[in-house]
Amino acid sequence: MSTIPIFVDENWRLPSRGRVGMFSLIIGESAIFTIFVVAYVYYIGRSTYGPTPQILSIPIFNTICLLSSSLTIWMAEHAIARGRIRIFGAWWALTMTLGIVFLAGTAKEWARLIGHEGLTIQTNLFGTTFYSLVGLHATHVVVGLIMLSLVMLFTLLGRVGQRHAERIQVLSLYWHFVDAVWVVVFTVVYLLGR
């Protein structure tokens, strides 16, 4: 038996568990978003009273901010993979800033809708579906920002090194997912639904 070489054993490589785990989480989260998006699409134009989606204005600046944060976090991933921690920190901080600007933009939009247009989650069916879908996405941005700021904190304390590159990439996957979902939400809410 010992004469038979075991080919598979020599290069036995399996996918990283962090990546597989994060992809699984993303699949699960996608199902949650799918249900909310389906509800939004199904209920477009079915409100029997109250404000309609025409009161929305397209958040172009917001969208540019969030989508470019995917690019900056990708730059950060590259920096840490090469061990350039200071550059990594800079890109990471920029990513966080873009995320915070996005949230601030959403807050401003909601303040206008609630204060001037009188649209709350209770007002009508459109309000319910709009705030729950956009709010669900915003919640994910908040969760992402909490995780990003933890990494930022550890970076400032000097605890992050090249050896964490894979973990950073796994975390970035989540951020990319949040951005990709925004593309869907943006298309459905502001382009098709308006």
């Binding site: 598979v8 568990r17 597989v20 785990g21 949650i32 249900i35 209920y43 069916l125 319910t128």
Partner: protein
């Protein structure tokens, strides 16, 4: 000398008192991240709720044993059938499947633990909290009839009944919140199982050499990812409606109650497969071992499992034929539902072909699995009957439907769970369960099961609707209902003998040794119970039956497998 003044707990020469030892033992179970301990916790938790849900079923059966009975109040009756369904699906079925997956998957694929041990503990404690939270509603829930109301809206919680106007108070919210909480735990565990199976296999354990148990658990966990999350989403919508004044399911504002039904069954139907595929997983291990043959058609079994998962996400609206859909939708869901029969048929043929020509040993696990194959066949056939929309219009919400899905949930899943406990109990505890009590358990449960659920088909065909509190004597349902309840009683006696077996064999059972069944998968190469690290050396695998190769070096499997 300082050592003597302050003895270090757990040090070799310190002998702690009984109380301290007990406390330390309990503490070790609470803080554990070991997949085997968490698996046992899951299974014990699920068995506890199996007894609770069973007691609720018995109360329902006592209420229905004679016409115009008043054993429980109508209000309590509604709570009983709601809690029975919710308990059995979410606090028994899911946890026990994750319990077996937790305990067995790392052992079967030659890993030392799950991919994320702490996430594993998180998942269990979330699930445990969800279950206790749900049952706290019996004390703390405030509903239509005052304090101490459990959820009473059916396990599917259809709107508008669950709207704030018709279900005031918060007992419905106990249902939603408890399931959201345990749903997060479930999601975490599903992620963990997928990551474990993909990333933690030992050397040589390619995907097509994995035991079918691990394959099925991979499919189930993948399916869970996209199954439990729609329920969470729908429940969040329900809570938005109930607490924030939303209008998702509010017809007057343009919302739609039918959307809830769709969302619920988008979760609810794949959920059935999430529950039944682990039963297949168990049968896939037990039937070959006791037939002394390798499983017939391994690749077909894998393909059929993946096929079932795929088809199962496109059949949900067969629960909704009476809601009033278009003919096109009806036809689509009729046909997609019938398609499920193809991969499941492949599986049944493969199990029978595995037994065919085998040298079958009818030990208790094999008895349960043999009964499972035939009962699952009947469950599948009544399923195909119900998938025909015009027949479903007649039988919808009758006891025929109850009989059909209990044939799946009890006749297939519970039978396989019992088989699994008899089969792997020696591995987990080091002792074999008593065969004599096991035979008693099997035959009593088998007779009770058939008495109850075969008879239910007839009473359903005679028009008895589900969820009714009582019935008039002149309907012709009385005799049948009496026998259904008697069957329930026999099943209860069987479960008691099983419970006694679990306790008695733990204390006085026969020593099991490493491999009491002469089986072929990796878990049987470890001591019983396995040490915390599972394998002293990482195993290397060259075929689907590594222990066969070890036991038969002159005739190993890897010579023939391609």
């Amino acid at each position: 000398m300082a050592d003597q003044a302050f003895p270090i707990p757990g040090s070799l020469d310190a002998t702690p008192s009984h109380g301290a030892a007990l406390l330390e033992w309990l503490h070790s179970w609470v803080v554990t991240v070991d997949h085997k301990k968490l698996g046992i916790l899951y299974i014990v938790y699920a068995l506890f709720f199996l007894l609770v849900g069973g007691a609720e079923a018995l109360a329902i059966r006592i209420q229905l044993v004679i016409p115009n009975n008043h054993f429980v109040s109508p209000e309590l009756y509604n709570e009983l059938f709601t809690m029975h369904g919710t308990t059995m699906v979410f606090l028994v079925g899911m946890p026990i499947l994750f319990g077996f997956a937790n305990y067995l998957v790392p052992l079967m694929i030659g890993a030392r633990d799950m991919a994320f041990p702490r996430l594993n503990a998180f998942g269990f404690w979330m699930t445990a909290f969800g279950g206790l939270f749900l049952y706290f509603s019996f004390i703390g829930g405030f509903g239509l009839y005052g304090m101490g109301s459990a959820p009473d809206v059916g396990w599917f919680a259809y709107v508008p009944l669950t709207a704030q106007a018709f279900s005031p108070g918060h007992n419905t919210d106990y249902w939603a919140l408890a399931l959201i909480v345990s749903g997060f735990g479930t999601l975490g565990t599903a992620i963990n199982i997928v990551a474990t199976i993909i990333s933690m296999r030992c050397r040589g354990m390619t995907l097509l050499r994995m035991p079918l148990f691990a394959w099925l658990m991979l499919v189930v966990s993948g399916l869970t990812l996209i199954t439990i999350t729609p329920l969470t989403a729908a429940q969040i919508m329900l809570l938005i409606d109930r607490y924030l004044g939303g209008h998702f399911f509010d017809t007057q504002a343009g919302g739609s109650a039918v959307v809830w039904i769709h969302f619920f069954w988008i979760f609810g139907h794949p959920e059935v497969y999430v529950l039944v595929l682990p039963a297949f997983a168990i049968a896939n291990e037990i039937i070959p071992t006791f037939s002394r043959k390798a499983i017939f058609g391994y690749p077909a079994m894998v393909a059929a499992s993946v096929g079932i998962a795929f088809v199962s996400v496109s059949v949900w609206a067969h629960h909704m034929f009476t809601v009033g859909m278009t003919s096109v939708s009806n036809a689509f869901f009729v046909l997609s539902t019938m398609m499920v029969g193809i991969p499941t048929g492949i599986k049944i043929f493969n199990w029978i072909a595995t037994m065919w020509g085998g040298k079958i040993r009818f030990a208790t696990p094999m008895l349960f699995c043999t009964a499972f194959v035939f009962q699952f066949l009947i469950a599948g056939l009544t399923g195909i009957m119900l998938s025909v929309a015009p027949l479903d219009w007649q039988l919808h919400n009758s006891y025929f439907v109850i009989a059909h899905f209990h044939y799946v949930l009890v006749g297939a899943i519970v039978f396989c769970i019992f088989a699994a406990i008899y089969y792997w109990y020696p591995k987990a505890t080091g002792r074999v369960l008593s065969e004599k009590l096991g035979k008693w358990h099997f035959w009593l449960f088998f007779i009770g099961f058939h008495l109850t659920f075969d008879t239910m088909h007839f009473v359903g065909s005679l028009g008895m609707p589900r969820s009714i509190y009582t019935y008039e004597a002149d309907r012709g349902w009385s005799v049948l209902n009496f026998w259904i309840s008697m069957g329930g009683l026999i099943q209860a006696i069987a479960v008691l003998s099983f419970t006694w077996n679990l306790i008695d064999s733990y204390l006085h059972g026969k020593e099991a040794g490493n491999d009491p069944w002469d089986a072929w998968t990796l878990e049987w190469s470890t001591p019983s119970p396995p040490p915390a690290y599972n394998f002293a050396e990482d195993p290397v695998v060259r075929s689907r039956r590594p222990l066969w190769d070890l036991k038969h070096p002159q005739d190993p499997d890897w010579k023939y497998e391609r």
